[in-house]
Every structure is written in C-alpha cells, then in structure tokens.
Amino acid sequence: VPGRYGHALRRTILVVDDDDSIRDLLEAFLGDEGYSVVSATDGAQALELVTDKLVPDLMLLDIGMPVVNGPEFVARYRRICEPPHAPIVVITARGDGERIAKEIDAEAFVTKPFELEDLAAVVKRSARPQR
C-alpha cells in the first residue's frame, strides 16, 4: 500500500512543469501514491531547488518551458550537481518525446495525456531505490 512507510522514508519527486494545473495534478496524484512531491515552474526554479539541498529520487520533467527549458535544465543540473544524479522521466505533449528522452539520456518518457496507472508504473520503475 502506498504511503505505508511513513514520512521519513518517503521518496521525493521533483515535478518541473510550467502548467499550474499539470503540477497540481501530479502533486495530488503522486501524493495519493505516497510520494513526497516538490514542484518547480521552470528549469531555473528547479535548479535553485537542486542546488539548495533538495536531493530528489526522481524528476518528472516537461520539455517546453520558459526561462530554462527541460534539456537546458538537465545539462546544467548534471554539470553543477555531484553524481549520482536523479533519474529523469520526460513528460511531454509533443510527438517527439521519445527522441528527446534519448537525447537527454532520460530514464523514460510519458506522453500527455497519460493514463494515471501508466504514470504510476513508470515512476515506480524509474525512481531511485529506497535510501
């Protein structure tokens, strides 16, 4: 049952998407699933979070975003932060999600609109194992 491990052992997911309603959905759903969710509205905000103590177990990353877009964020994150780096799942409404996921060496990609069950399975499979 999700969430049974209690707060201290919850895995943390960083959601990066510029669409408020998508962030709300992901926060709510992943919260239902027992994850601790932190979200950012673009790559710049996400960079601030990961350089300021946040060590996510997975990142759900939109591609097209203002300020710092998905691929730019990934490049900077991997340059600035010490490995091991968090696995990344690309989440996009574009038709070329698969290609982009390969290009930025992401774990997986999910195309909008997605099935919640599918998203849950991808997140479970891709997140870093329990620390």
């Binding site: 669409d19 998508i22 959905l25 239902d32 698969e98």
Partner: protein, 405 residues
C-alpha cells in the same frame, strides 16, 4: 560569339539550370559560362533581399567588397532602374552617360568600368532580378551580346522564380507545422488534467460517486484526445511533413476490443460482435486507436440503430487484418475509391449524418504511415452492408525479420 557558339552556350546554360538543385550553384555556373563566352571584366547578378533592396547574389571576374556591399532601392542607379523598368541598358562609355550618378562612379571597382550592359530577369511579367556585365574598354558589348544576355536572363528568371516559390512554401510549411504543434500541445495539457483528475475521483470515491458520469467524462476526454491527434496528423499530412510513428510492441486485439467498446458505449454493448485473434505487433498504439475508433464510429454512424457491428481480427504471415462490417446501406462501387479522401461524405446519407468527413482520411494516413493498406468491400455473407479491411504490417518493413537463406 558566333551563332554556333551561342547555341552551344545556351544549351549548356539550360543544362546547368535543369541539373542544379541549389540556386546559388546554378547562378554561379551560368555566370561562369557567360564569363568564358563573352569577354567582360566583372559580372554580377542581383536579387531583391527580404527588405526589397537589390543585393548582389553571385559575382564573377573583377568585383570588390565595396561593390558587393551596395544595396540598391528599385529605381536607384542603373541596376535599380533596369530592375524597376524591365528595360535593358547598354553603354560603351559610362562617363558620357547622363543616367549614371557621379557618386556611383567612385565606388570600388566601378571606377574601372567604361562599358556596361544590364538586363532584367523577368518571369511571367514579374521582374525577379537584374544581370550586369562590365568592361574597362569602351564599346565592349554589341547588340548581339545584349540579345544573348537577355535570353540567358529569361532562363535564369525561371530558375529564380521556381526557387523563390519553393523557398516560400518550405517556410510556410514549417510555420504551419509549428503552429499545429503548439495548438496540439496547448490542447493536450487541459485534456491531461481533466482525465487525470477524473481518474483520481473515480479511485477515491469509486463506490459512492456517480461512476457512470465520471466514466463518460473519461470516454469523451479520450475521444477529444484522439481528435486532437487526428487533426494534427491531417495538418501534417497536408503540409507534406508526414506522420511520425511511435511504434512499440502492442497487443492489437486488446486495443481493438477496448476502443470498439469505448466508442459504441455501454448502451450499444450488445451490437458489438468481436472476433479477435490475440496478436502482438510493433505499431503505434495511439494511431491504432484512431483507426479502430474512426472505423467503428463510421459503421455506427451509417448503419441503422440496433444493427450488429462486426469487428474481426486475424493474422496472416506478417499482417494483422482488421475488418469492420456493418448492416448499413453499404458503399456504392463508384464511391469506394474516394471515401478515403478528405472531406468526402457520400450521398444519400450526407445530409442525415453529421461529420467533417475526416475519419476515413485519418484512417488512410495512419495505416499508410505503417506501410499498410485499406480495402472496401461488400460483406462476405452477401447481405447488405459495408466491410472495411485494414491490412497492418506487424513489423516496420525495414526491420522485418530476414528471410531464411
């Protein structure tokens, strides 16, 4: 240049024009041929840039940076005047020519010019550029040279026009693709949220909630999502960009069953006759959903209420064959070739049945993208009704298993 040489030159130029795929390569090849045939010092071809100013696109012989950097308004200077009037200009002594602006004489290599010949590139009444050759000797160019240059200019005008049209079409197509991609992206975000939040409601309050209503929201959201994908596919097809498939191993029978049921809805459950062999193929599941949805929707639209809709899936060597048969009026032989065109809706039901006429067009695009085909026929049992069969390759053609040797 004698008559025979002239004919040879023009033939060679025509060959250059026909063979070259790059405008600049073509213009350069032609200018170099001219340079070999006519004795001139410098020669250049000017085309209007995006601002409408004439700029030298290709130059041969003696010509310097200062001359290359000049931008002329139509009507300005000799080249600008030829460009705006379409009339050729030939002089054997530039210094005695009243139409030459004295300031222009001191620009770069212009100082060394005495003879000057300039003709317009005109194609179907439009002037698309100007071609100029010059010489340091007086009276360097004859009336025959002018005639030759005018003939060459006609050929080049055609080449330039075609290239401009192609360039504009390419730019317009890219702009359209960007636009449709942006629209699709913007539509998919709200669809994702409606779908996701509805699913959450169903999961959390499943027992007490009105699951019928929530289920209907999900079904219709999925229908909207398919329409968005279809419209994008049609748009991309029309702009010549083609459909990008996301193939993955897919249980074809499961998608056929799921989508057929979803499209007909619970109220039509008993109309659906499924006869599906379990088949896995490397296909694009979203496109397969479109195909199934559009064919079943189409059958339901044209067949009388309550009549059965039969959906059959069989496998041959390397194909999945999906057949959807109804008990409607059937499709007249004469219409079978064109029902897969866009916006086609056949009489006599045209006025009674609503729709854009895009459904079968989308089926054709999606199936063709997989390397498959669609066939319309009568029902096998000879009763009235239409049967549409989709033949879908189970593997991409290029990665199909090698044949035994």
């Amino acid at each position: 240049v004698n008559e025979l040489e002239r004919a040879k030159l023009l033939a060679a130029i025509a060959r250059d024009a026909a063979a070259s795929s790059d405008l600049d390569d073509c213009l350069r090849a032609v200018m170099e041929r001219l340079h070999d045939a006519i004795h001139f010092k410098g020669g250049s071809l000017a085309l209007p840039n995006d601002d409408g100013l004439l700029a030298i696109r290709v130059a041969v012989g003696v010509i310097d940076e200062a001359a290359l950097a000049v931008r002329l308004r139509p009507g300005q200077g000799i080249v600008g005047t030829v460009f705006s009037s379409g009339r050729s200009f030939r002089t054997g002594d530039l210094d005695g020519e009243s139409r030459v602006a004295p300031a222009a004489r001191t620009v770069g290599t212009n100082r060394l010019m005495r003879s000057f010949l300039c003709v317009a590139l005109a194609h179907q009444g439009n002037i698309v550029g100007a071609l100029e050759i010059d010489s340091a000797s007086a009276d360097a160019f004859s009336a025959e040279d002018q005639e030759l240059l005018e003939t060459v200019a006609t050929v080049l005008a055609g080449v330039v026009s075609l290239s401009l049209i192609a360039e504009r079409e390419r730019a317009a197509r890219l702009a359209r693709d960007d636009f449709f991609a942006a629209v699709t992206h913007d539509l998919r975000n709200p669809l994702t949220v409606i779908r996701g939040q509805t699913q959450r409601l169903l999961r959390r309050h499943g027992e007490d909630a009105d699951t019928g209503s929530l289920g209907a929201i999900l079904t219709q959201t999925d229908r909207l999502s398919r329409m968005v994908t279809s419209l994008l596919d049609v748009a991309r097809f029309q702009s010549g960009s083609g459909v990008t498939l996301q193939r993955r191993p897919t249980r074809i029978d499961e998608i056929v069953a799921l989508i057929s049921r979803a499209v007909l809805g619970p109220e039509n459950e008993e109309r659906l006759r499924l006869d599906l062999a379990p088949i896995t193929g490397t296909v694009d599941p979203a496109r397969l959903e479109q195909v199934v949805a559009n064919l079943v929707e189409n059958a339901a639209k044209y067949a009388p209420a309550g009549t059965p809709i039969e959906v059959r899936l069989v496998e041959t060597a390397d194909l999945a064959i999906l057949t959807i048969a109804d008990h409607g009026p059937g499709i007249p032989l004469a219409d079978r070739g064109r029902i897969f065109d866009r916006y086609t809706r056949i009489a006599p039901q045209r006025d009674a049945v609503h729709g854009l006429g895009l459904g079968l067009f989308v089926v054709r695009i999606a199936v063709a993208a997989h390397g498959g085909s669609v066939v319309v026929s009568d029902r096998e049992d000879g009763t009235s009704g239409a049967a549409i069969s989709v033949q879908l390759p189970l593997l991409p053609r290029d990665s199909a298993a090698p044949s035994r040797t």
